[in-house]
């Protein structure tokens, strides 16, 4: 093997090992017995509506409720655009971004980190 080949091969082995480690850590965290309180709490529309400010912002998306308070400053869109959605069912905003384009898989992957319960009546 030439030296660039050796570098590529070594990097590939490290690459596969790192992905397997990531998957293993994830599997251990979500194994039975690990904490899994999310999804058990039911939040009514009335209590959702109370969290409607920059300091306390909840949104419902596809039947699940998320606490986005900490995330708001990191969102690429200006705060004024997002604030009206706080305390509401923001499913349409999620699906269309206001101009017919859905959020990215990357954004979707971030959702579980903020989930606090299911949307009730």
């Amino acid at each position: 093997m030439t030296w660039p080949g050796r570098i590529a091969y070594t990097t590939l082995v490290a690459f596969i090992a790192s992905l397997l480690t990531l998957l293993a850590v994830d599997a251990m965290r979500s194994a039975p017995g690990a904490s899994a309180e999310s999804g058990t709490r039911v939040i009514s529309r009335a209590s959702l509506a109370e969290h409607n400010s920059e300091q306390d912002c909840w949104m419902a998306i596809h039947g699940r409720v998320y606490d986005f308070t900490e995330y708001l400053p990191q969102h690429p869109t200006p705060l004024q655009v997002l604030l009206p959605y706080c305390g509401t069912d923001a499913t349409t905003g999620w699906d269309t971004k206001g101009y017919g384009r859905a959020h990215s898989p990357r954004a979707e992957a971030m959702l579980p980190a903020y989930e606090i319960g299911l949307l009730g009546q």
Partner: protein, 429 residues
């Protein structure tokens, strides 16, 4: 050299194009949640650009390779782009994982391995696997690959590029650079695999099969149509069509042209180095071959008016055989030229007799044969004894990579500037 730099400059501009189009030239704040996704996009865009350019460069149009200093150098650039692209793809995935890890392990895993419905991400993974399949033999992960198998596997690159473009098109902010480069790559593949075998190849008839040794043959080929114009040191891709050939029929391989420009027969020397070249030792006279080219710019570089030193090792003598035959035809007005023919022993000095008789009739040419088995590796003292003013000459070297490295080290140590040393290494691929 100027032309060579132009090709590379053009390539550098093309590398920057998608980065600028995606607006990635502005580095965002240094906070990880912003910085990591930016770096992930940057490496993704760069990786795709590099592998698309590697694909585009494989078009192998005769003449175009001169913009990059000849086809050998163009292949080195192609290989380098592919290597860098492959490395960047892995860094890209690491950075995507990292931008998820800022949130949590679960987010990171979901970003890398989302539900199957998120096909753009899975197209990216498909592309990575395809890259792995065809690059593993190129990087010799599992030893030296066999040429025909390596060449067939390299076709998987089309799938890798297609999936990578699908991955990018659905996630990119601006899609036109990918449509542009993707279309160019598709055209390059179409030309190389579908059109050029029909349009760019010229048919020649084998009129002479001269055995120069037990494992060395020189073919004399006559054009069936318009003959090819070439310069000394250039090479062609040869596809034998002989139905009686034991191996390698219809397979193209590169060979250096050994005849002088304008000679009635185009000659190539073929040494048995593998199964295909061994079979060619017994190519049937009067059978047909197809030639594509000429390629390369080996002897076209450098200062042609300066006294020259040519060093040919083993089968690396081929370009100089062409040049000596041309020099013999020109007879006068040529700068003094010294050719040193390096061989292991006399039994491998296939062109010795012809070169000696041509040298006797060519005033400008001086010839020396150096046998490694009896005289050792060519060292500085021997070189100085053979050619006292070698540090003042324009120097061309052709031979196996180890020999070329040895000679370059020797010449650099004596203060010969790199700009006056021109080399072409023989490589399997």
């Amino acid at each position: 050299m100027k032309r060579a730099r132009l090709g590379e400059l053009f390539l550098a501009l093309l590398i920057l194009l998608p980065l600028l189009a995606a607006g990635l030239q502005h580095r965002p704040s240094a906070e990880l949640p912003v910085l990591l996704p930016w770096l992930a996009r940057l490496t993704g865009v760069l990786a795709l650009t590099l592998i698309l350019l590697a694909g585009i460069l494989s078009i192998r149009l005769p003449g175009m390779d001169r913009w990059f200093g000849g086809l050998t150098r163009l292949w080195a650039i192609h290989h380098g782009l592919g290597w860098a692209g492959f490395m960047l793809v892995m860094v890209h995935v690491w950075l995507v994982a990292g931008s998820g890890l800022v949130q949590s392990v679960q987010v990171s895993v979901n970003m890398l391995f989302p539900p199957l419905g998120h096909w753009p991400v899975w197209a990216g993974w498909g592309s990575f696997l395809a890259l792995l399949v065809f690059l593993a033999p190129s990087f010799k992960f599992f030893g030296e690959p066999r040429y025909p198998r390596w060449k067939r596997l390299h076709l998987v690159s089309a799938l890798a590029l297609l999936l990578a473009v699908v991955h990018a098109l659905s996630l990119a902010a601006s899609i036109w650079p990918w449509l542009l480069l993707g279309t160019a790559a598709a055209l390059a593949y179409g030309w190389r695999k579908l059109l050029s075998p029909r349009l760019a190849r010229r048919t020649y008839r084998v009129t002479e099969v001269k055995h120069l040794g037990p494992d060395m043959v020189e073919l004399g080929l006559r054009a069936e149509g318009r003959p090819m114009q070439h310069a000394p040191g250039q090479f062609i891709y040869l596809t034998p069509r002989d139905p009686a050939l034991a191996q390698g029929r219809g397979e193209e391989h590169p060979y250096t042209i050994a005849s002088a420009p304008g000679a009635p027969l185009l000659r190539v020397g073929i040494k048995a180095l593998g199964d295909g070249t061994r079979a060619l030792q017994n190519l049937s006279p009067d059978s047909l071959v197809q030639l594509e080219g000429p390629y390369g710019d080996f002897m076209g570089q450098g200062d042609a008016s300066r006294a020259a030193l040519w060093i040919g090792g083993g089968i690396g003598i081929a370009p100089f055989v062409s040049a000596v035959r041309a020099l013999h035809q020109a007879r006068q007005g040529q700068p003094p030229t010294h050719l040193i023919y390096l061989v292991n022993n006399d039994s491998e000095a296939y062109y010795q007799q012809e070169l000696q008789s041509l040298a006797q009739e060519t005033e400008a040419l001086q010839l020396n044969l150096h046998r490694r088995d009896s005289e050792g590796l060519l060292d500085e003292a021997t070189l100085r004894a053979l050619c006292p003013d070698f540090t003042e000459r324009e120097i061309w070297i052709c031979g196996p990579p180890g020999l070329t490295r040895h000679l370059k080290t020797l010449l650099h140590a004596r203060g010969v500037p790199g700009s006056r040393i021109h080399s072409e290494a023989f490589n399997l691929l």
